[in-house]
């Protein structure tokens, strides 16, 4: 009960203890000083309760959606030897999809009432449209995986399995693609539509950022699966890596744009542990190093190249996960900072991006 009673105390102490930069100047301040710019440093807004379950969902949701989109596009425009890519994309999409509803339900304060989400559709609530989008997309992902399994003979050779195998998977893929894109990107919009300065100020770029990261992690996941399985055409892997490079480029651009848009509000994700994780984990080893590895891989033998490709895929996946982690954890720190909230509320009013 005591931790509840003094729920702001760890934050105040934490902020005092963080002896970096401008924060150092706050040490030794009295509570009268603290009260000057804010109310004793008490957070103005309440932070979200989201943690590992949601971070993992943000990561998997990106992969399930983008894997589906990549598979569908490869099926439409890719050469026939890329059927392995299509197959891997569909299966991976389904594999990443399966835990997603469970993660979301377990995160609820009252998991037994998850179905209450399905009693209304509210276009102003990204969580509402997100739930519906995930539900519809789940159907497409499962259906495409089912057709793929039937084509592959996994469902046996019975009449029914063969009938399923003849379903128009291309058309299903086209119809499911918008939903896959939605699932991969809406989580960024969901964070942006809050009062948390770090998220709200960057609302326009969070969706695109999460989407770009979804593409790069999904391409890496498919690449990893294909490289691990023997017998994938090098040309197929080369096409995937091209996609990886394009999406990594987009992600880097969006990260830079977010940094510029946020300016001082970005402090929670540029300093401390989250800052280090974002700088070295996501940008460094998760984006720049993979780009370098792709360049190096061209100069080596095919076998080494493939190993380097797998390594870069793993790095991209870890970096994508860290991006979600840092965004969520940074949002909590941002919500706890009354000055960030005040500045955001003042700036938005005067309309001047600081």
């Amino acid at each position: 009960m005591n931790t509840f009673a003094r729920r702001w105390e760890p934050d105040r102490r934490g902020r005092r203890a963080a002896a970096t930069g401008a924060l150092a100047a706050q040490r030794g301040r009295t509570s009268a000083d603290e009260a000057r710019g804010s109310y004793y440093g008490v957070p103005v807004i309440h932070r979200a309760h989201w943690h590992w379950l949601i971070i993992l969902y943000f990561f998997l949701g990106g992969i399930t959606g983008a894997c589906y989109v990549i598979a569908s596009i490869a099926h439409l425009v890719g050469p026939s030897e890329d059927r392995r890519l299509v197959r891997a994309g569909r299966y991976l999409s389904f594999v990443a999809l399966v835990p997603s509803p469970a993660l979301l339900i377990l995160d609820l304060g009252r998991p037994g009432r998850f179905y209450k989400m399905l009693r209304v559709v509210k276009l102003r609530s990204p969580m509402s449209v997100g739930t519906w989008g995930l539900t519809v997309f789940g159907g497409f992902s499962a259906l495409s995986a089912l057709v793929q399994a039937a084509e592959d003979g996994i469902l046996g050779r019975g009449l029914r399995a063969r009938a399923v195998g003849r379903w128009p998977s291309k058309i299903i893929g086209i119809a499911g693609m918008p939903w896959g894109l939605f699932v991969a990107g809406y989580t960024g919009v969901l964070l942006g539509a809050t009062a948390v300065p770090l998220w709200a100020k960057n609302a326009l770029l969070l969706g695109p950022l999460f989407l770009a990261s979804a593409f790069s992690t999904a391409a890496s996941a498919i690449g990893l699966a294909l490289s691990a399985a023997q017998g994938t055409e090098p040309a197929t892997l080369e096409r995937l890596e091209r996609l990886e490079r394009l999406t990594i480029g987009a992600e880097l651009g969006l990260l830079a744009a977010s940094r510029a848009r946020l300016s001082a509000t970005a402090a929670p994700v540029t300093t401390g542990t989250p800052g280090a994780l974002l700088r070295y984990g996501t940008v460094g080893s998760g984006l720049l190093v993979p780009l370098g590895l792709h360049a190096v891989a061209r100069l080596t033998s095919e076998k080494t190249g493939r190993r380097l490709g797998m390594l870069s895929s793993v790095l991209v996946l870890v970096g994508g996960f860290l991006l979600r982690y840092v965004t969520v954890v940074g949002g909590h720190a941002s919500a706890d900072d009354p000055r960030a909230t005040f500045d955001y509320a003042r700036q938005e009013q005067s309309g001047t991006p600081a």
Binding site: K122, M127, T341, Q349
Partner: protein, 289 residues
């Protein structure tokens, strides 16, 4: 931390409150910090005590008991102690002619029952509703504890309960309103710092009060919750509004919060544009040669 000290506009007192809306006028200049409202709220709504640290019942911030609003605190009395600004005039200090007394600012904070409520926008279950009194209420039997209303509220009002994991906040005593009674806090307030009534009556009263305070020399007196302060942006006014005598930040109130859900459509549009771009990138990358 730059806190502008001047209200941007003279208090117009205009909000988007719907006809028949009721609400609170909380006037800080009348608050004596007795916390009768906190106690009355907890009693009527059967909320447990909190903030009881080692039996002292105080937070360590002045005489504040609870620190902020939360799942079990729907009225929170903030205590701001303002030391007089040092004049730097040594002689005046020695002669005792410089102001030495602390200024006391007290404010009973509460859910603002926003005209366009961000929590209501965010709630994916429809648990949060607008009542016929134009107040905002969480239906506990519908709420599934998703917690999205918590970061959506720009005033930090709703919170998930420790025990039942549902979101809770002030109901503006909905159960009393339907029986024609005023909310418990307004009933208990001995100085009428908390006044309950139709917005159409309360707002002119607030304008009058601000004018009076300003004429008496309280230059910073202003309304918080009209379209000049607090209830700006898409929020369009607060049905529980305040007469403040210092900048909103002093009381931990954001100056001009925005309605977060106004960002939903633009953000989906930029995401859709990104989806188009990334989809084309995928076509370009995966195309057979």
């Amino acid at each position: 931390m730059s806190v502008a000290s001047e209200p941007q506009e003279s208090p117009s007192g205009s909000t988007g409150a719907r006809p028949g809306a009721v609400g609170f006028l909380t006037d800080v200049s009348l608050c004596i910090g007795c916390k009768a409202c906190e106690v009355a709220c907890k009693q009527w709504n059967q909320l447990p005590a909190d903030g009881s640290v080692a039996g002292s019942g105080l937070t360590g911030f002045s005489y504040d008991n609870t620190g902020d609003l939360g799942a079990t605190t729907w009225r929170h009395v903030a205590f701001v102690e303002q030391a007089p600004a040092p004049t730097g005039d040594l002689l005046a200090g020695l002669l005792g002619s410089a102001p030495t007394q602390m200024a006391w600012l007290m404010l009973s904070d509460v859910c603002k029952h926003c005209v366009n409520a961000p929590c209501l926008d965010a709630c994916p279950t429809g648990a949060i509703i607008r009542t016929r009194f134009d107040t905002v209420v969480i239906q506990d039997d519908v709420c599934n504890g998703c917690g999205y209303c918590v970061p959506a509220c720009p005033f930090g009002v709703p919170q998930l309960g420790e025990g039942d994991r549902g979101a809770h906040k002030c109901t503006l005593c909905y159960d009393r309103l339907v029986d024609g009674m005023e909310p418990a806090c307004a009933k208990a307030c001995p100085t009428d710092s908390i006044q309950f009534g139709p917005i159409s009556e309360l707002m002119p009263r607030a304008v009058e009060r601000v004018t009076e305070l300003q004429n008496r020399g309280v230059e910073q007196a202003h309304i918080y919750g009209d379209r000049a302060w607090g209830g700006t942006g898409g929020i369009n006014g607060l049905n529980a509004f305040f007469v403040l005598t210092a900048p909103p930040e002093t009381y931990n109130l954001p100056a001009s919060p925005q309605r977060p859900s106004d960002q939903v459509l633009p953000a989906f549009l930029t995401t859709a544009a990104a989806a188009l771009g990334l989809g084309l990138a995928a076509v370009a990358a995966l195309r057979g040669r």
